[in-house]
Amino acid sequence: MALLSNARISKRIADTMRFVPIAVLTSLIVPSLLAPKGHVDFSFTNEYLIAGIVATIVTYRTKALILTIVLGIATILAMRLFIS
């Protein structure tokens, strides 16, 4: 309601700026899910990887943050319980 509504940022810079969070967040997400314990783990026993897939699907369908977190953590706990 207050300040910089009329800031005229160069269009080229604005176009590139949109990539910053996409790139940075993805760079943070992927290794934390594929290598949660420091080494790369592509297998289906990597509970973080599976939880990540679940979270992506849940987000795609519902966009709900709390639900995504809860289902993701539930996936991890379920996998640890049944697959160890």
Partner: protein, 239 residues
Amino acid sequence: MQMLSHHEASLQEFRLGLRAPLPLAIGVSSFGLAYGILAIQAGLSFLESTLMSLTVFAGAAQFVATGMLMSGAGALPILVTTFMINSRHFLMSASLAPYVGGWKLRWKALLSFLLADETYAITMSRFSKNAPSKYYQLGVGLNVYVVWLLSSIVGSALGPLVGKPQAWGLDFALPATFIVLVLPMLQNWRDVLVCITAGLLSIACFTWLPGKWYVTFASLVAIAFGWGLVELCKRRSSR
């Protein structure tokens, strides 16, 4: 129906506003709780994490900034990302503008600070059917703010007690939040390609580069790649 004095009407609006967000309180407080715990795990002191909730009051931004700090991202990417996450506030403020025209500047400033997704949703819904009241919005804003602040204080207090969050899979809350934020950002094929590039590069760099450099390196290359794609499309369309 008896006419209330201006003073009584304002108070009534305020009370209505104060009560309105209660159904959402569970969502807001669990988010606040998660933030508090995360902030402590990230190394912030109880005071620091509480101050952040007190002064910033922007859940997603606080969550992401803390997470990014923890993961070693630099100040600039954090600023840009926070800016983009909160850019929706510009839109929210713009759509509220028609209703707030006559209000004094200090009211606008206070209400701007208190603006949150939940506050916006409730206020817009109310103003579309009733006369806009700054007391109503103040009530809503205060409710959400206080719930957020209290729950993040509790979270910060619980933080040290949670022990190793990894044992309970709680460390997944962070990548989960990032996923929820990134997915809506992917609005065209260029965004998706940049995302895939960043993903592939980051895991490759994670293996080859020391420390947290993989984040910066993968991001920069992916951003440059995205910039290149934009340029390419411009050239093509100007032929």
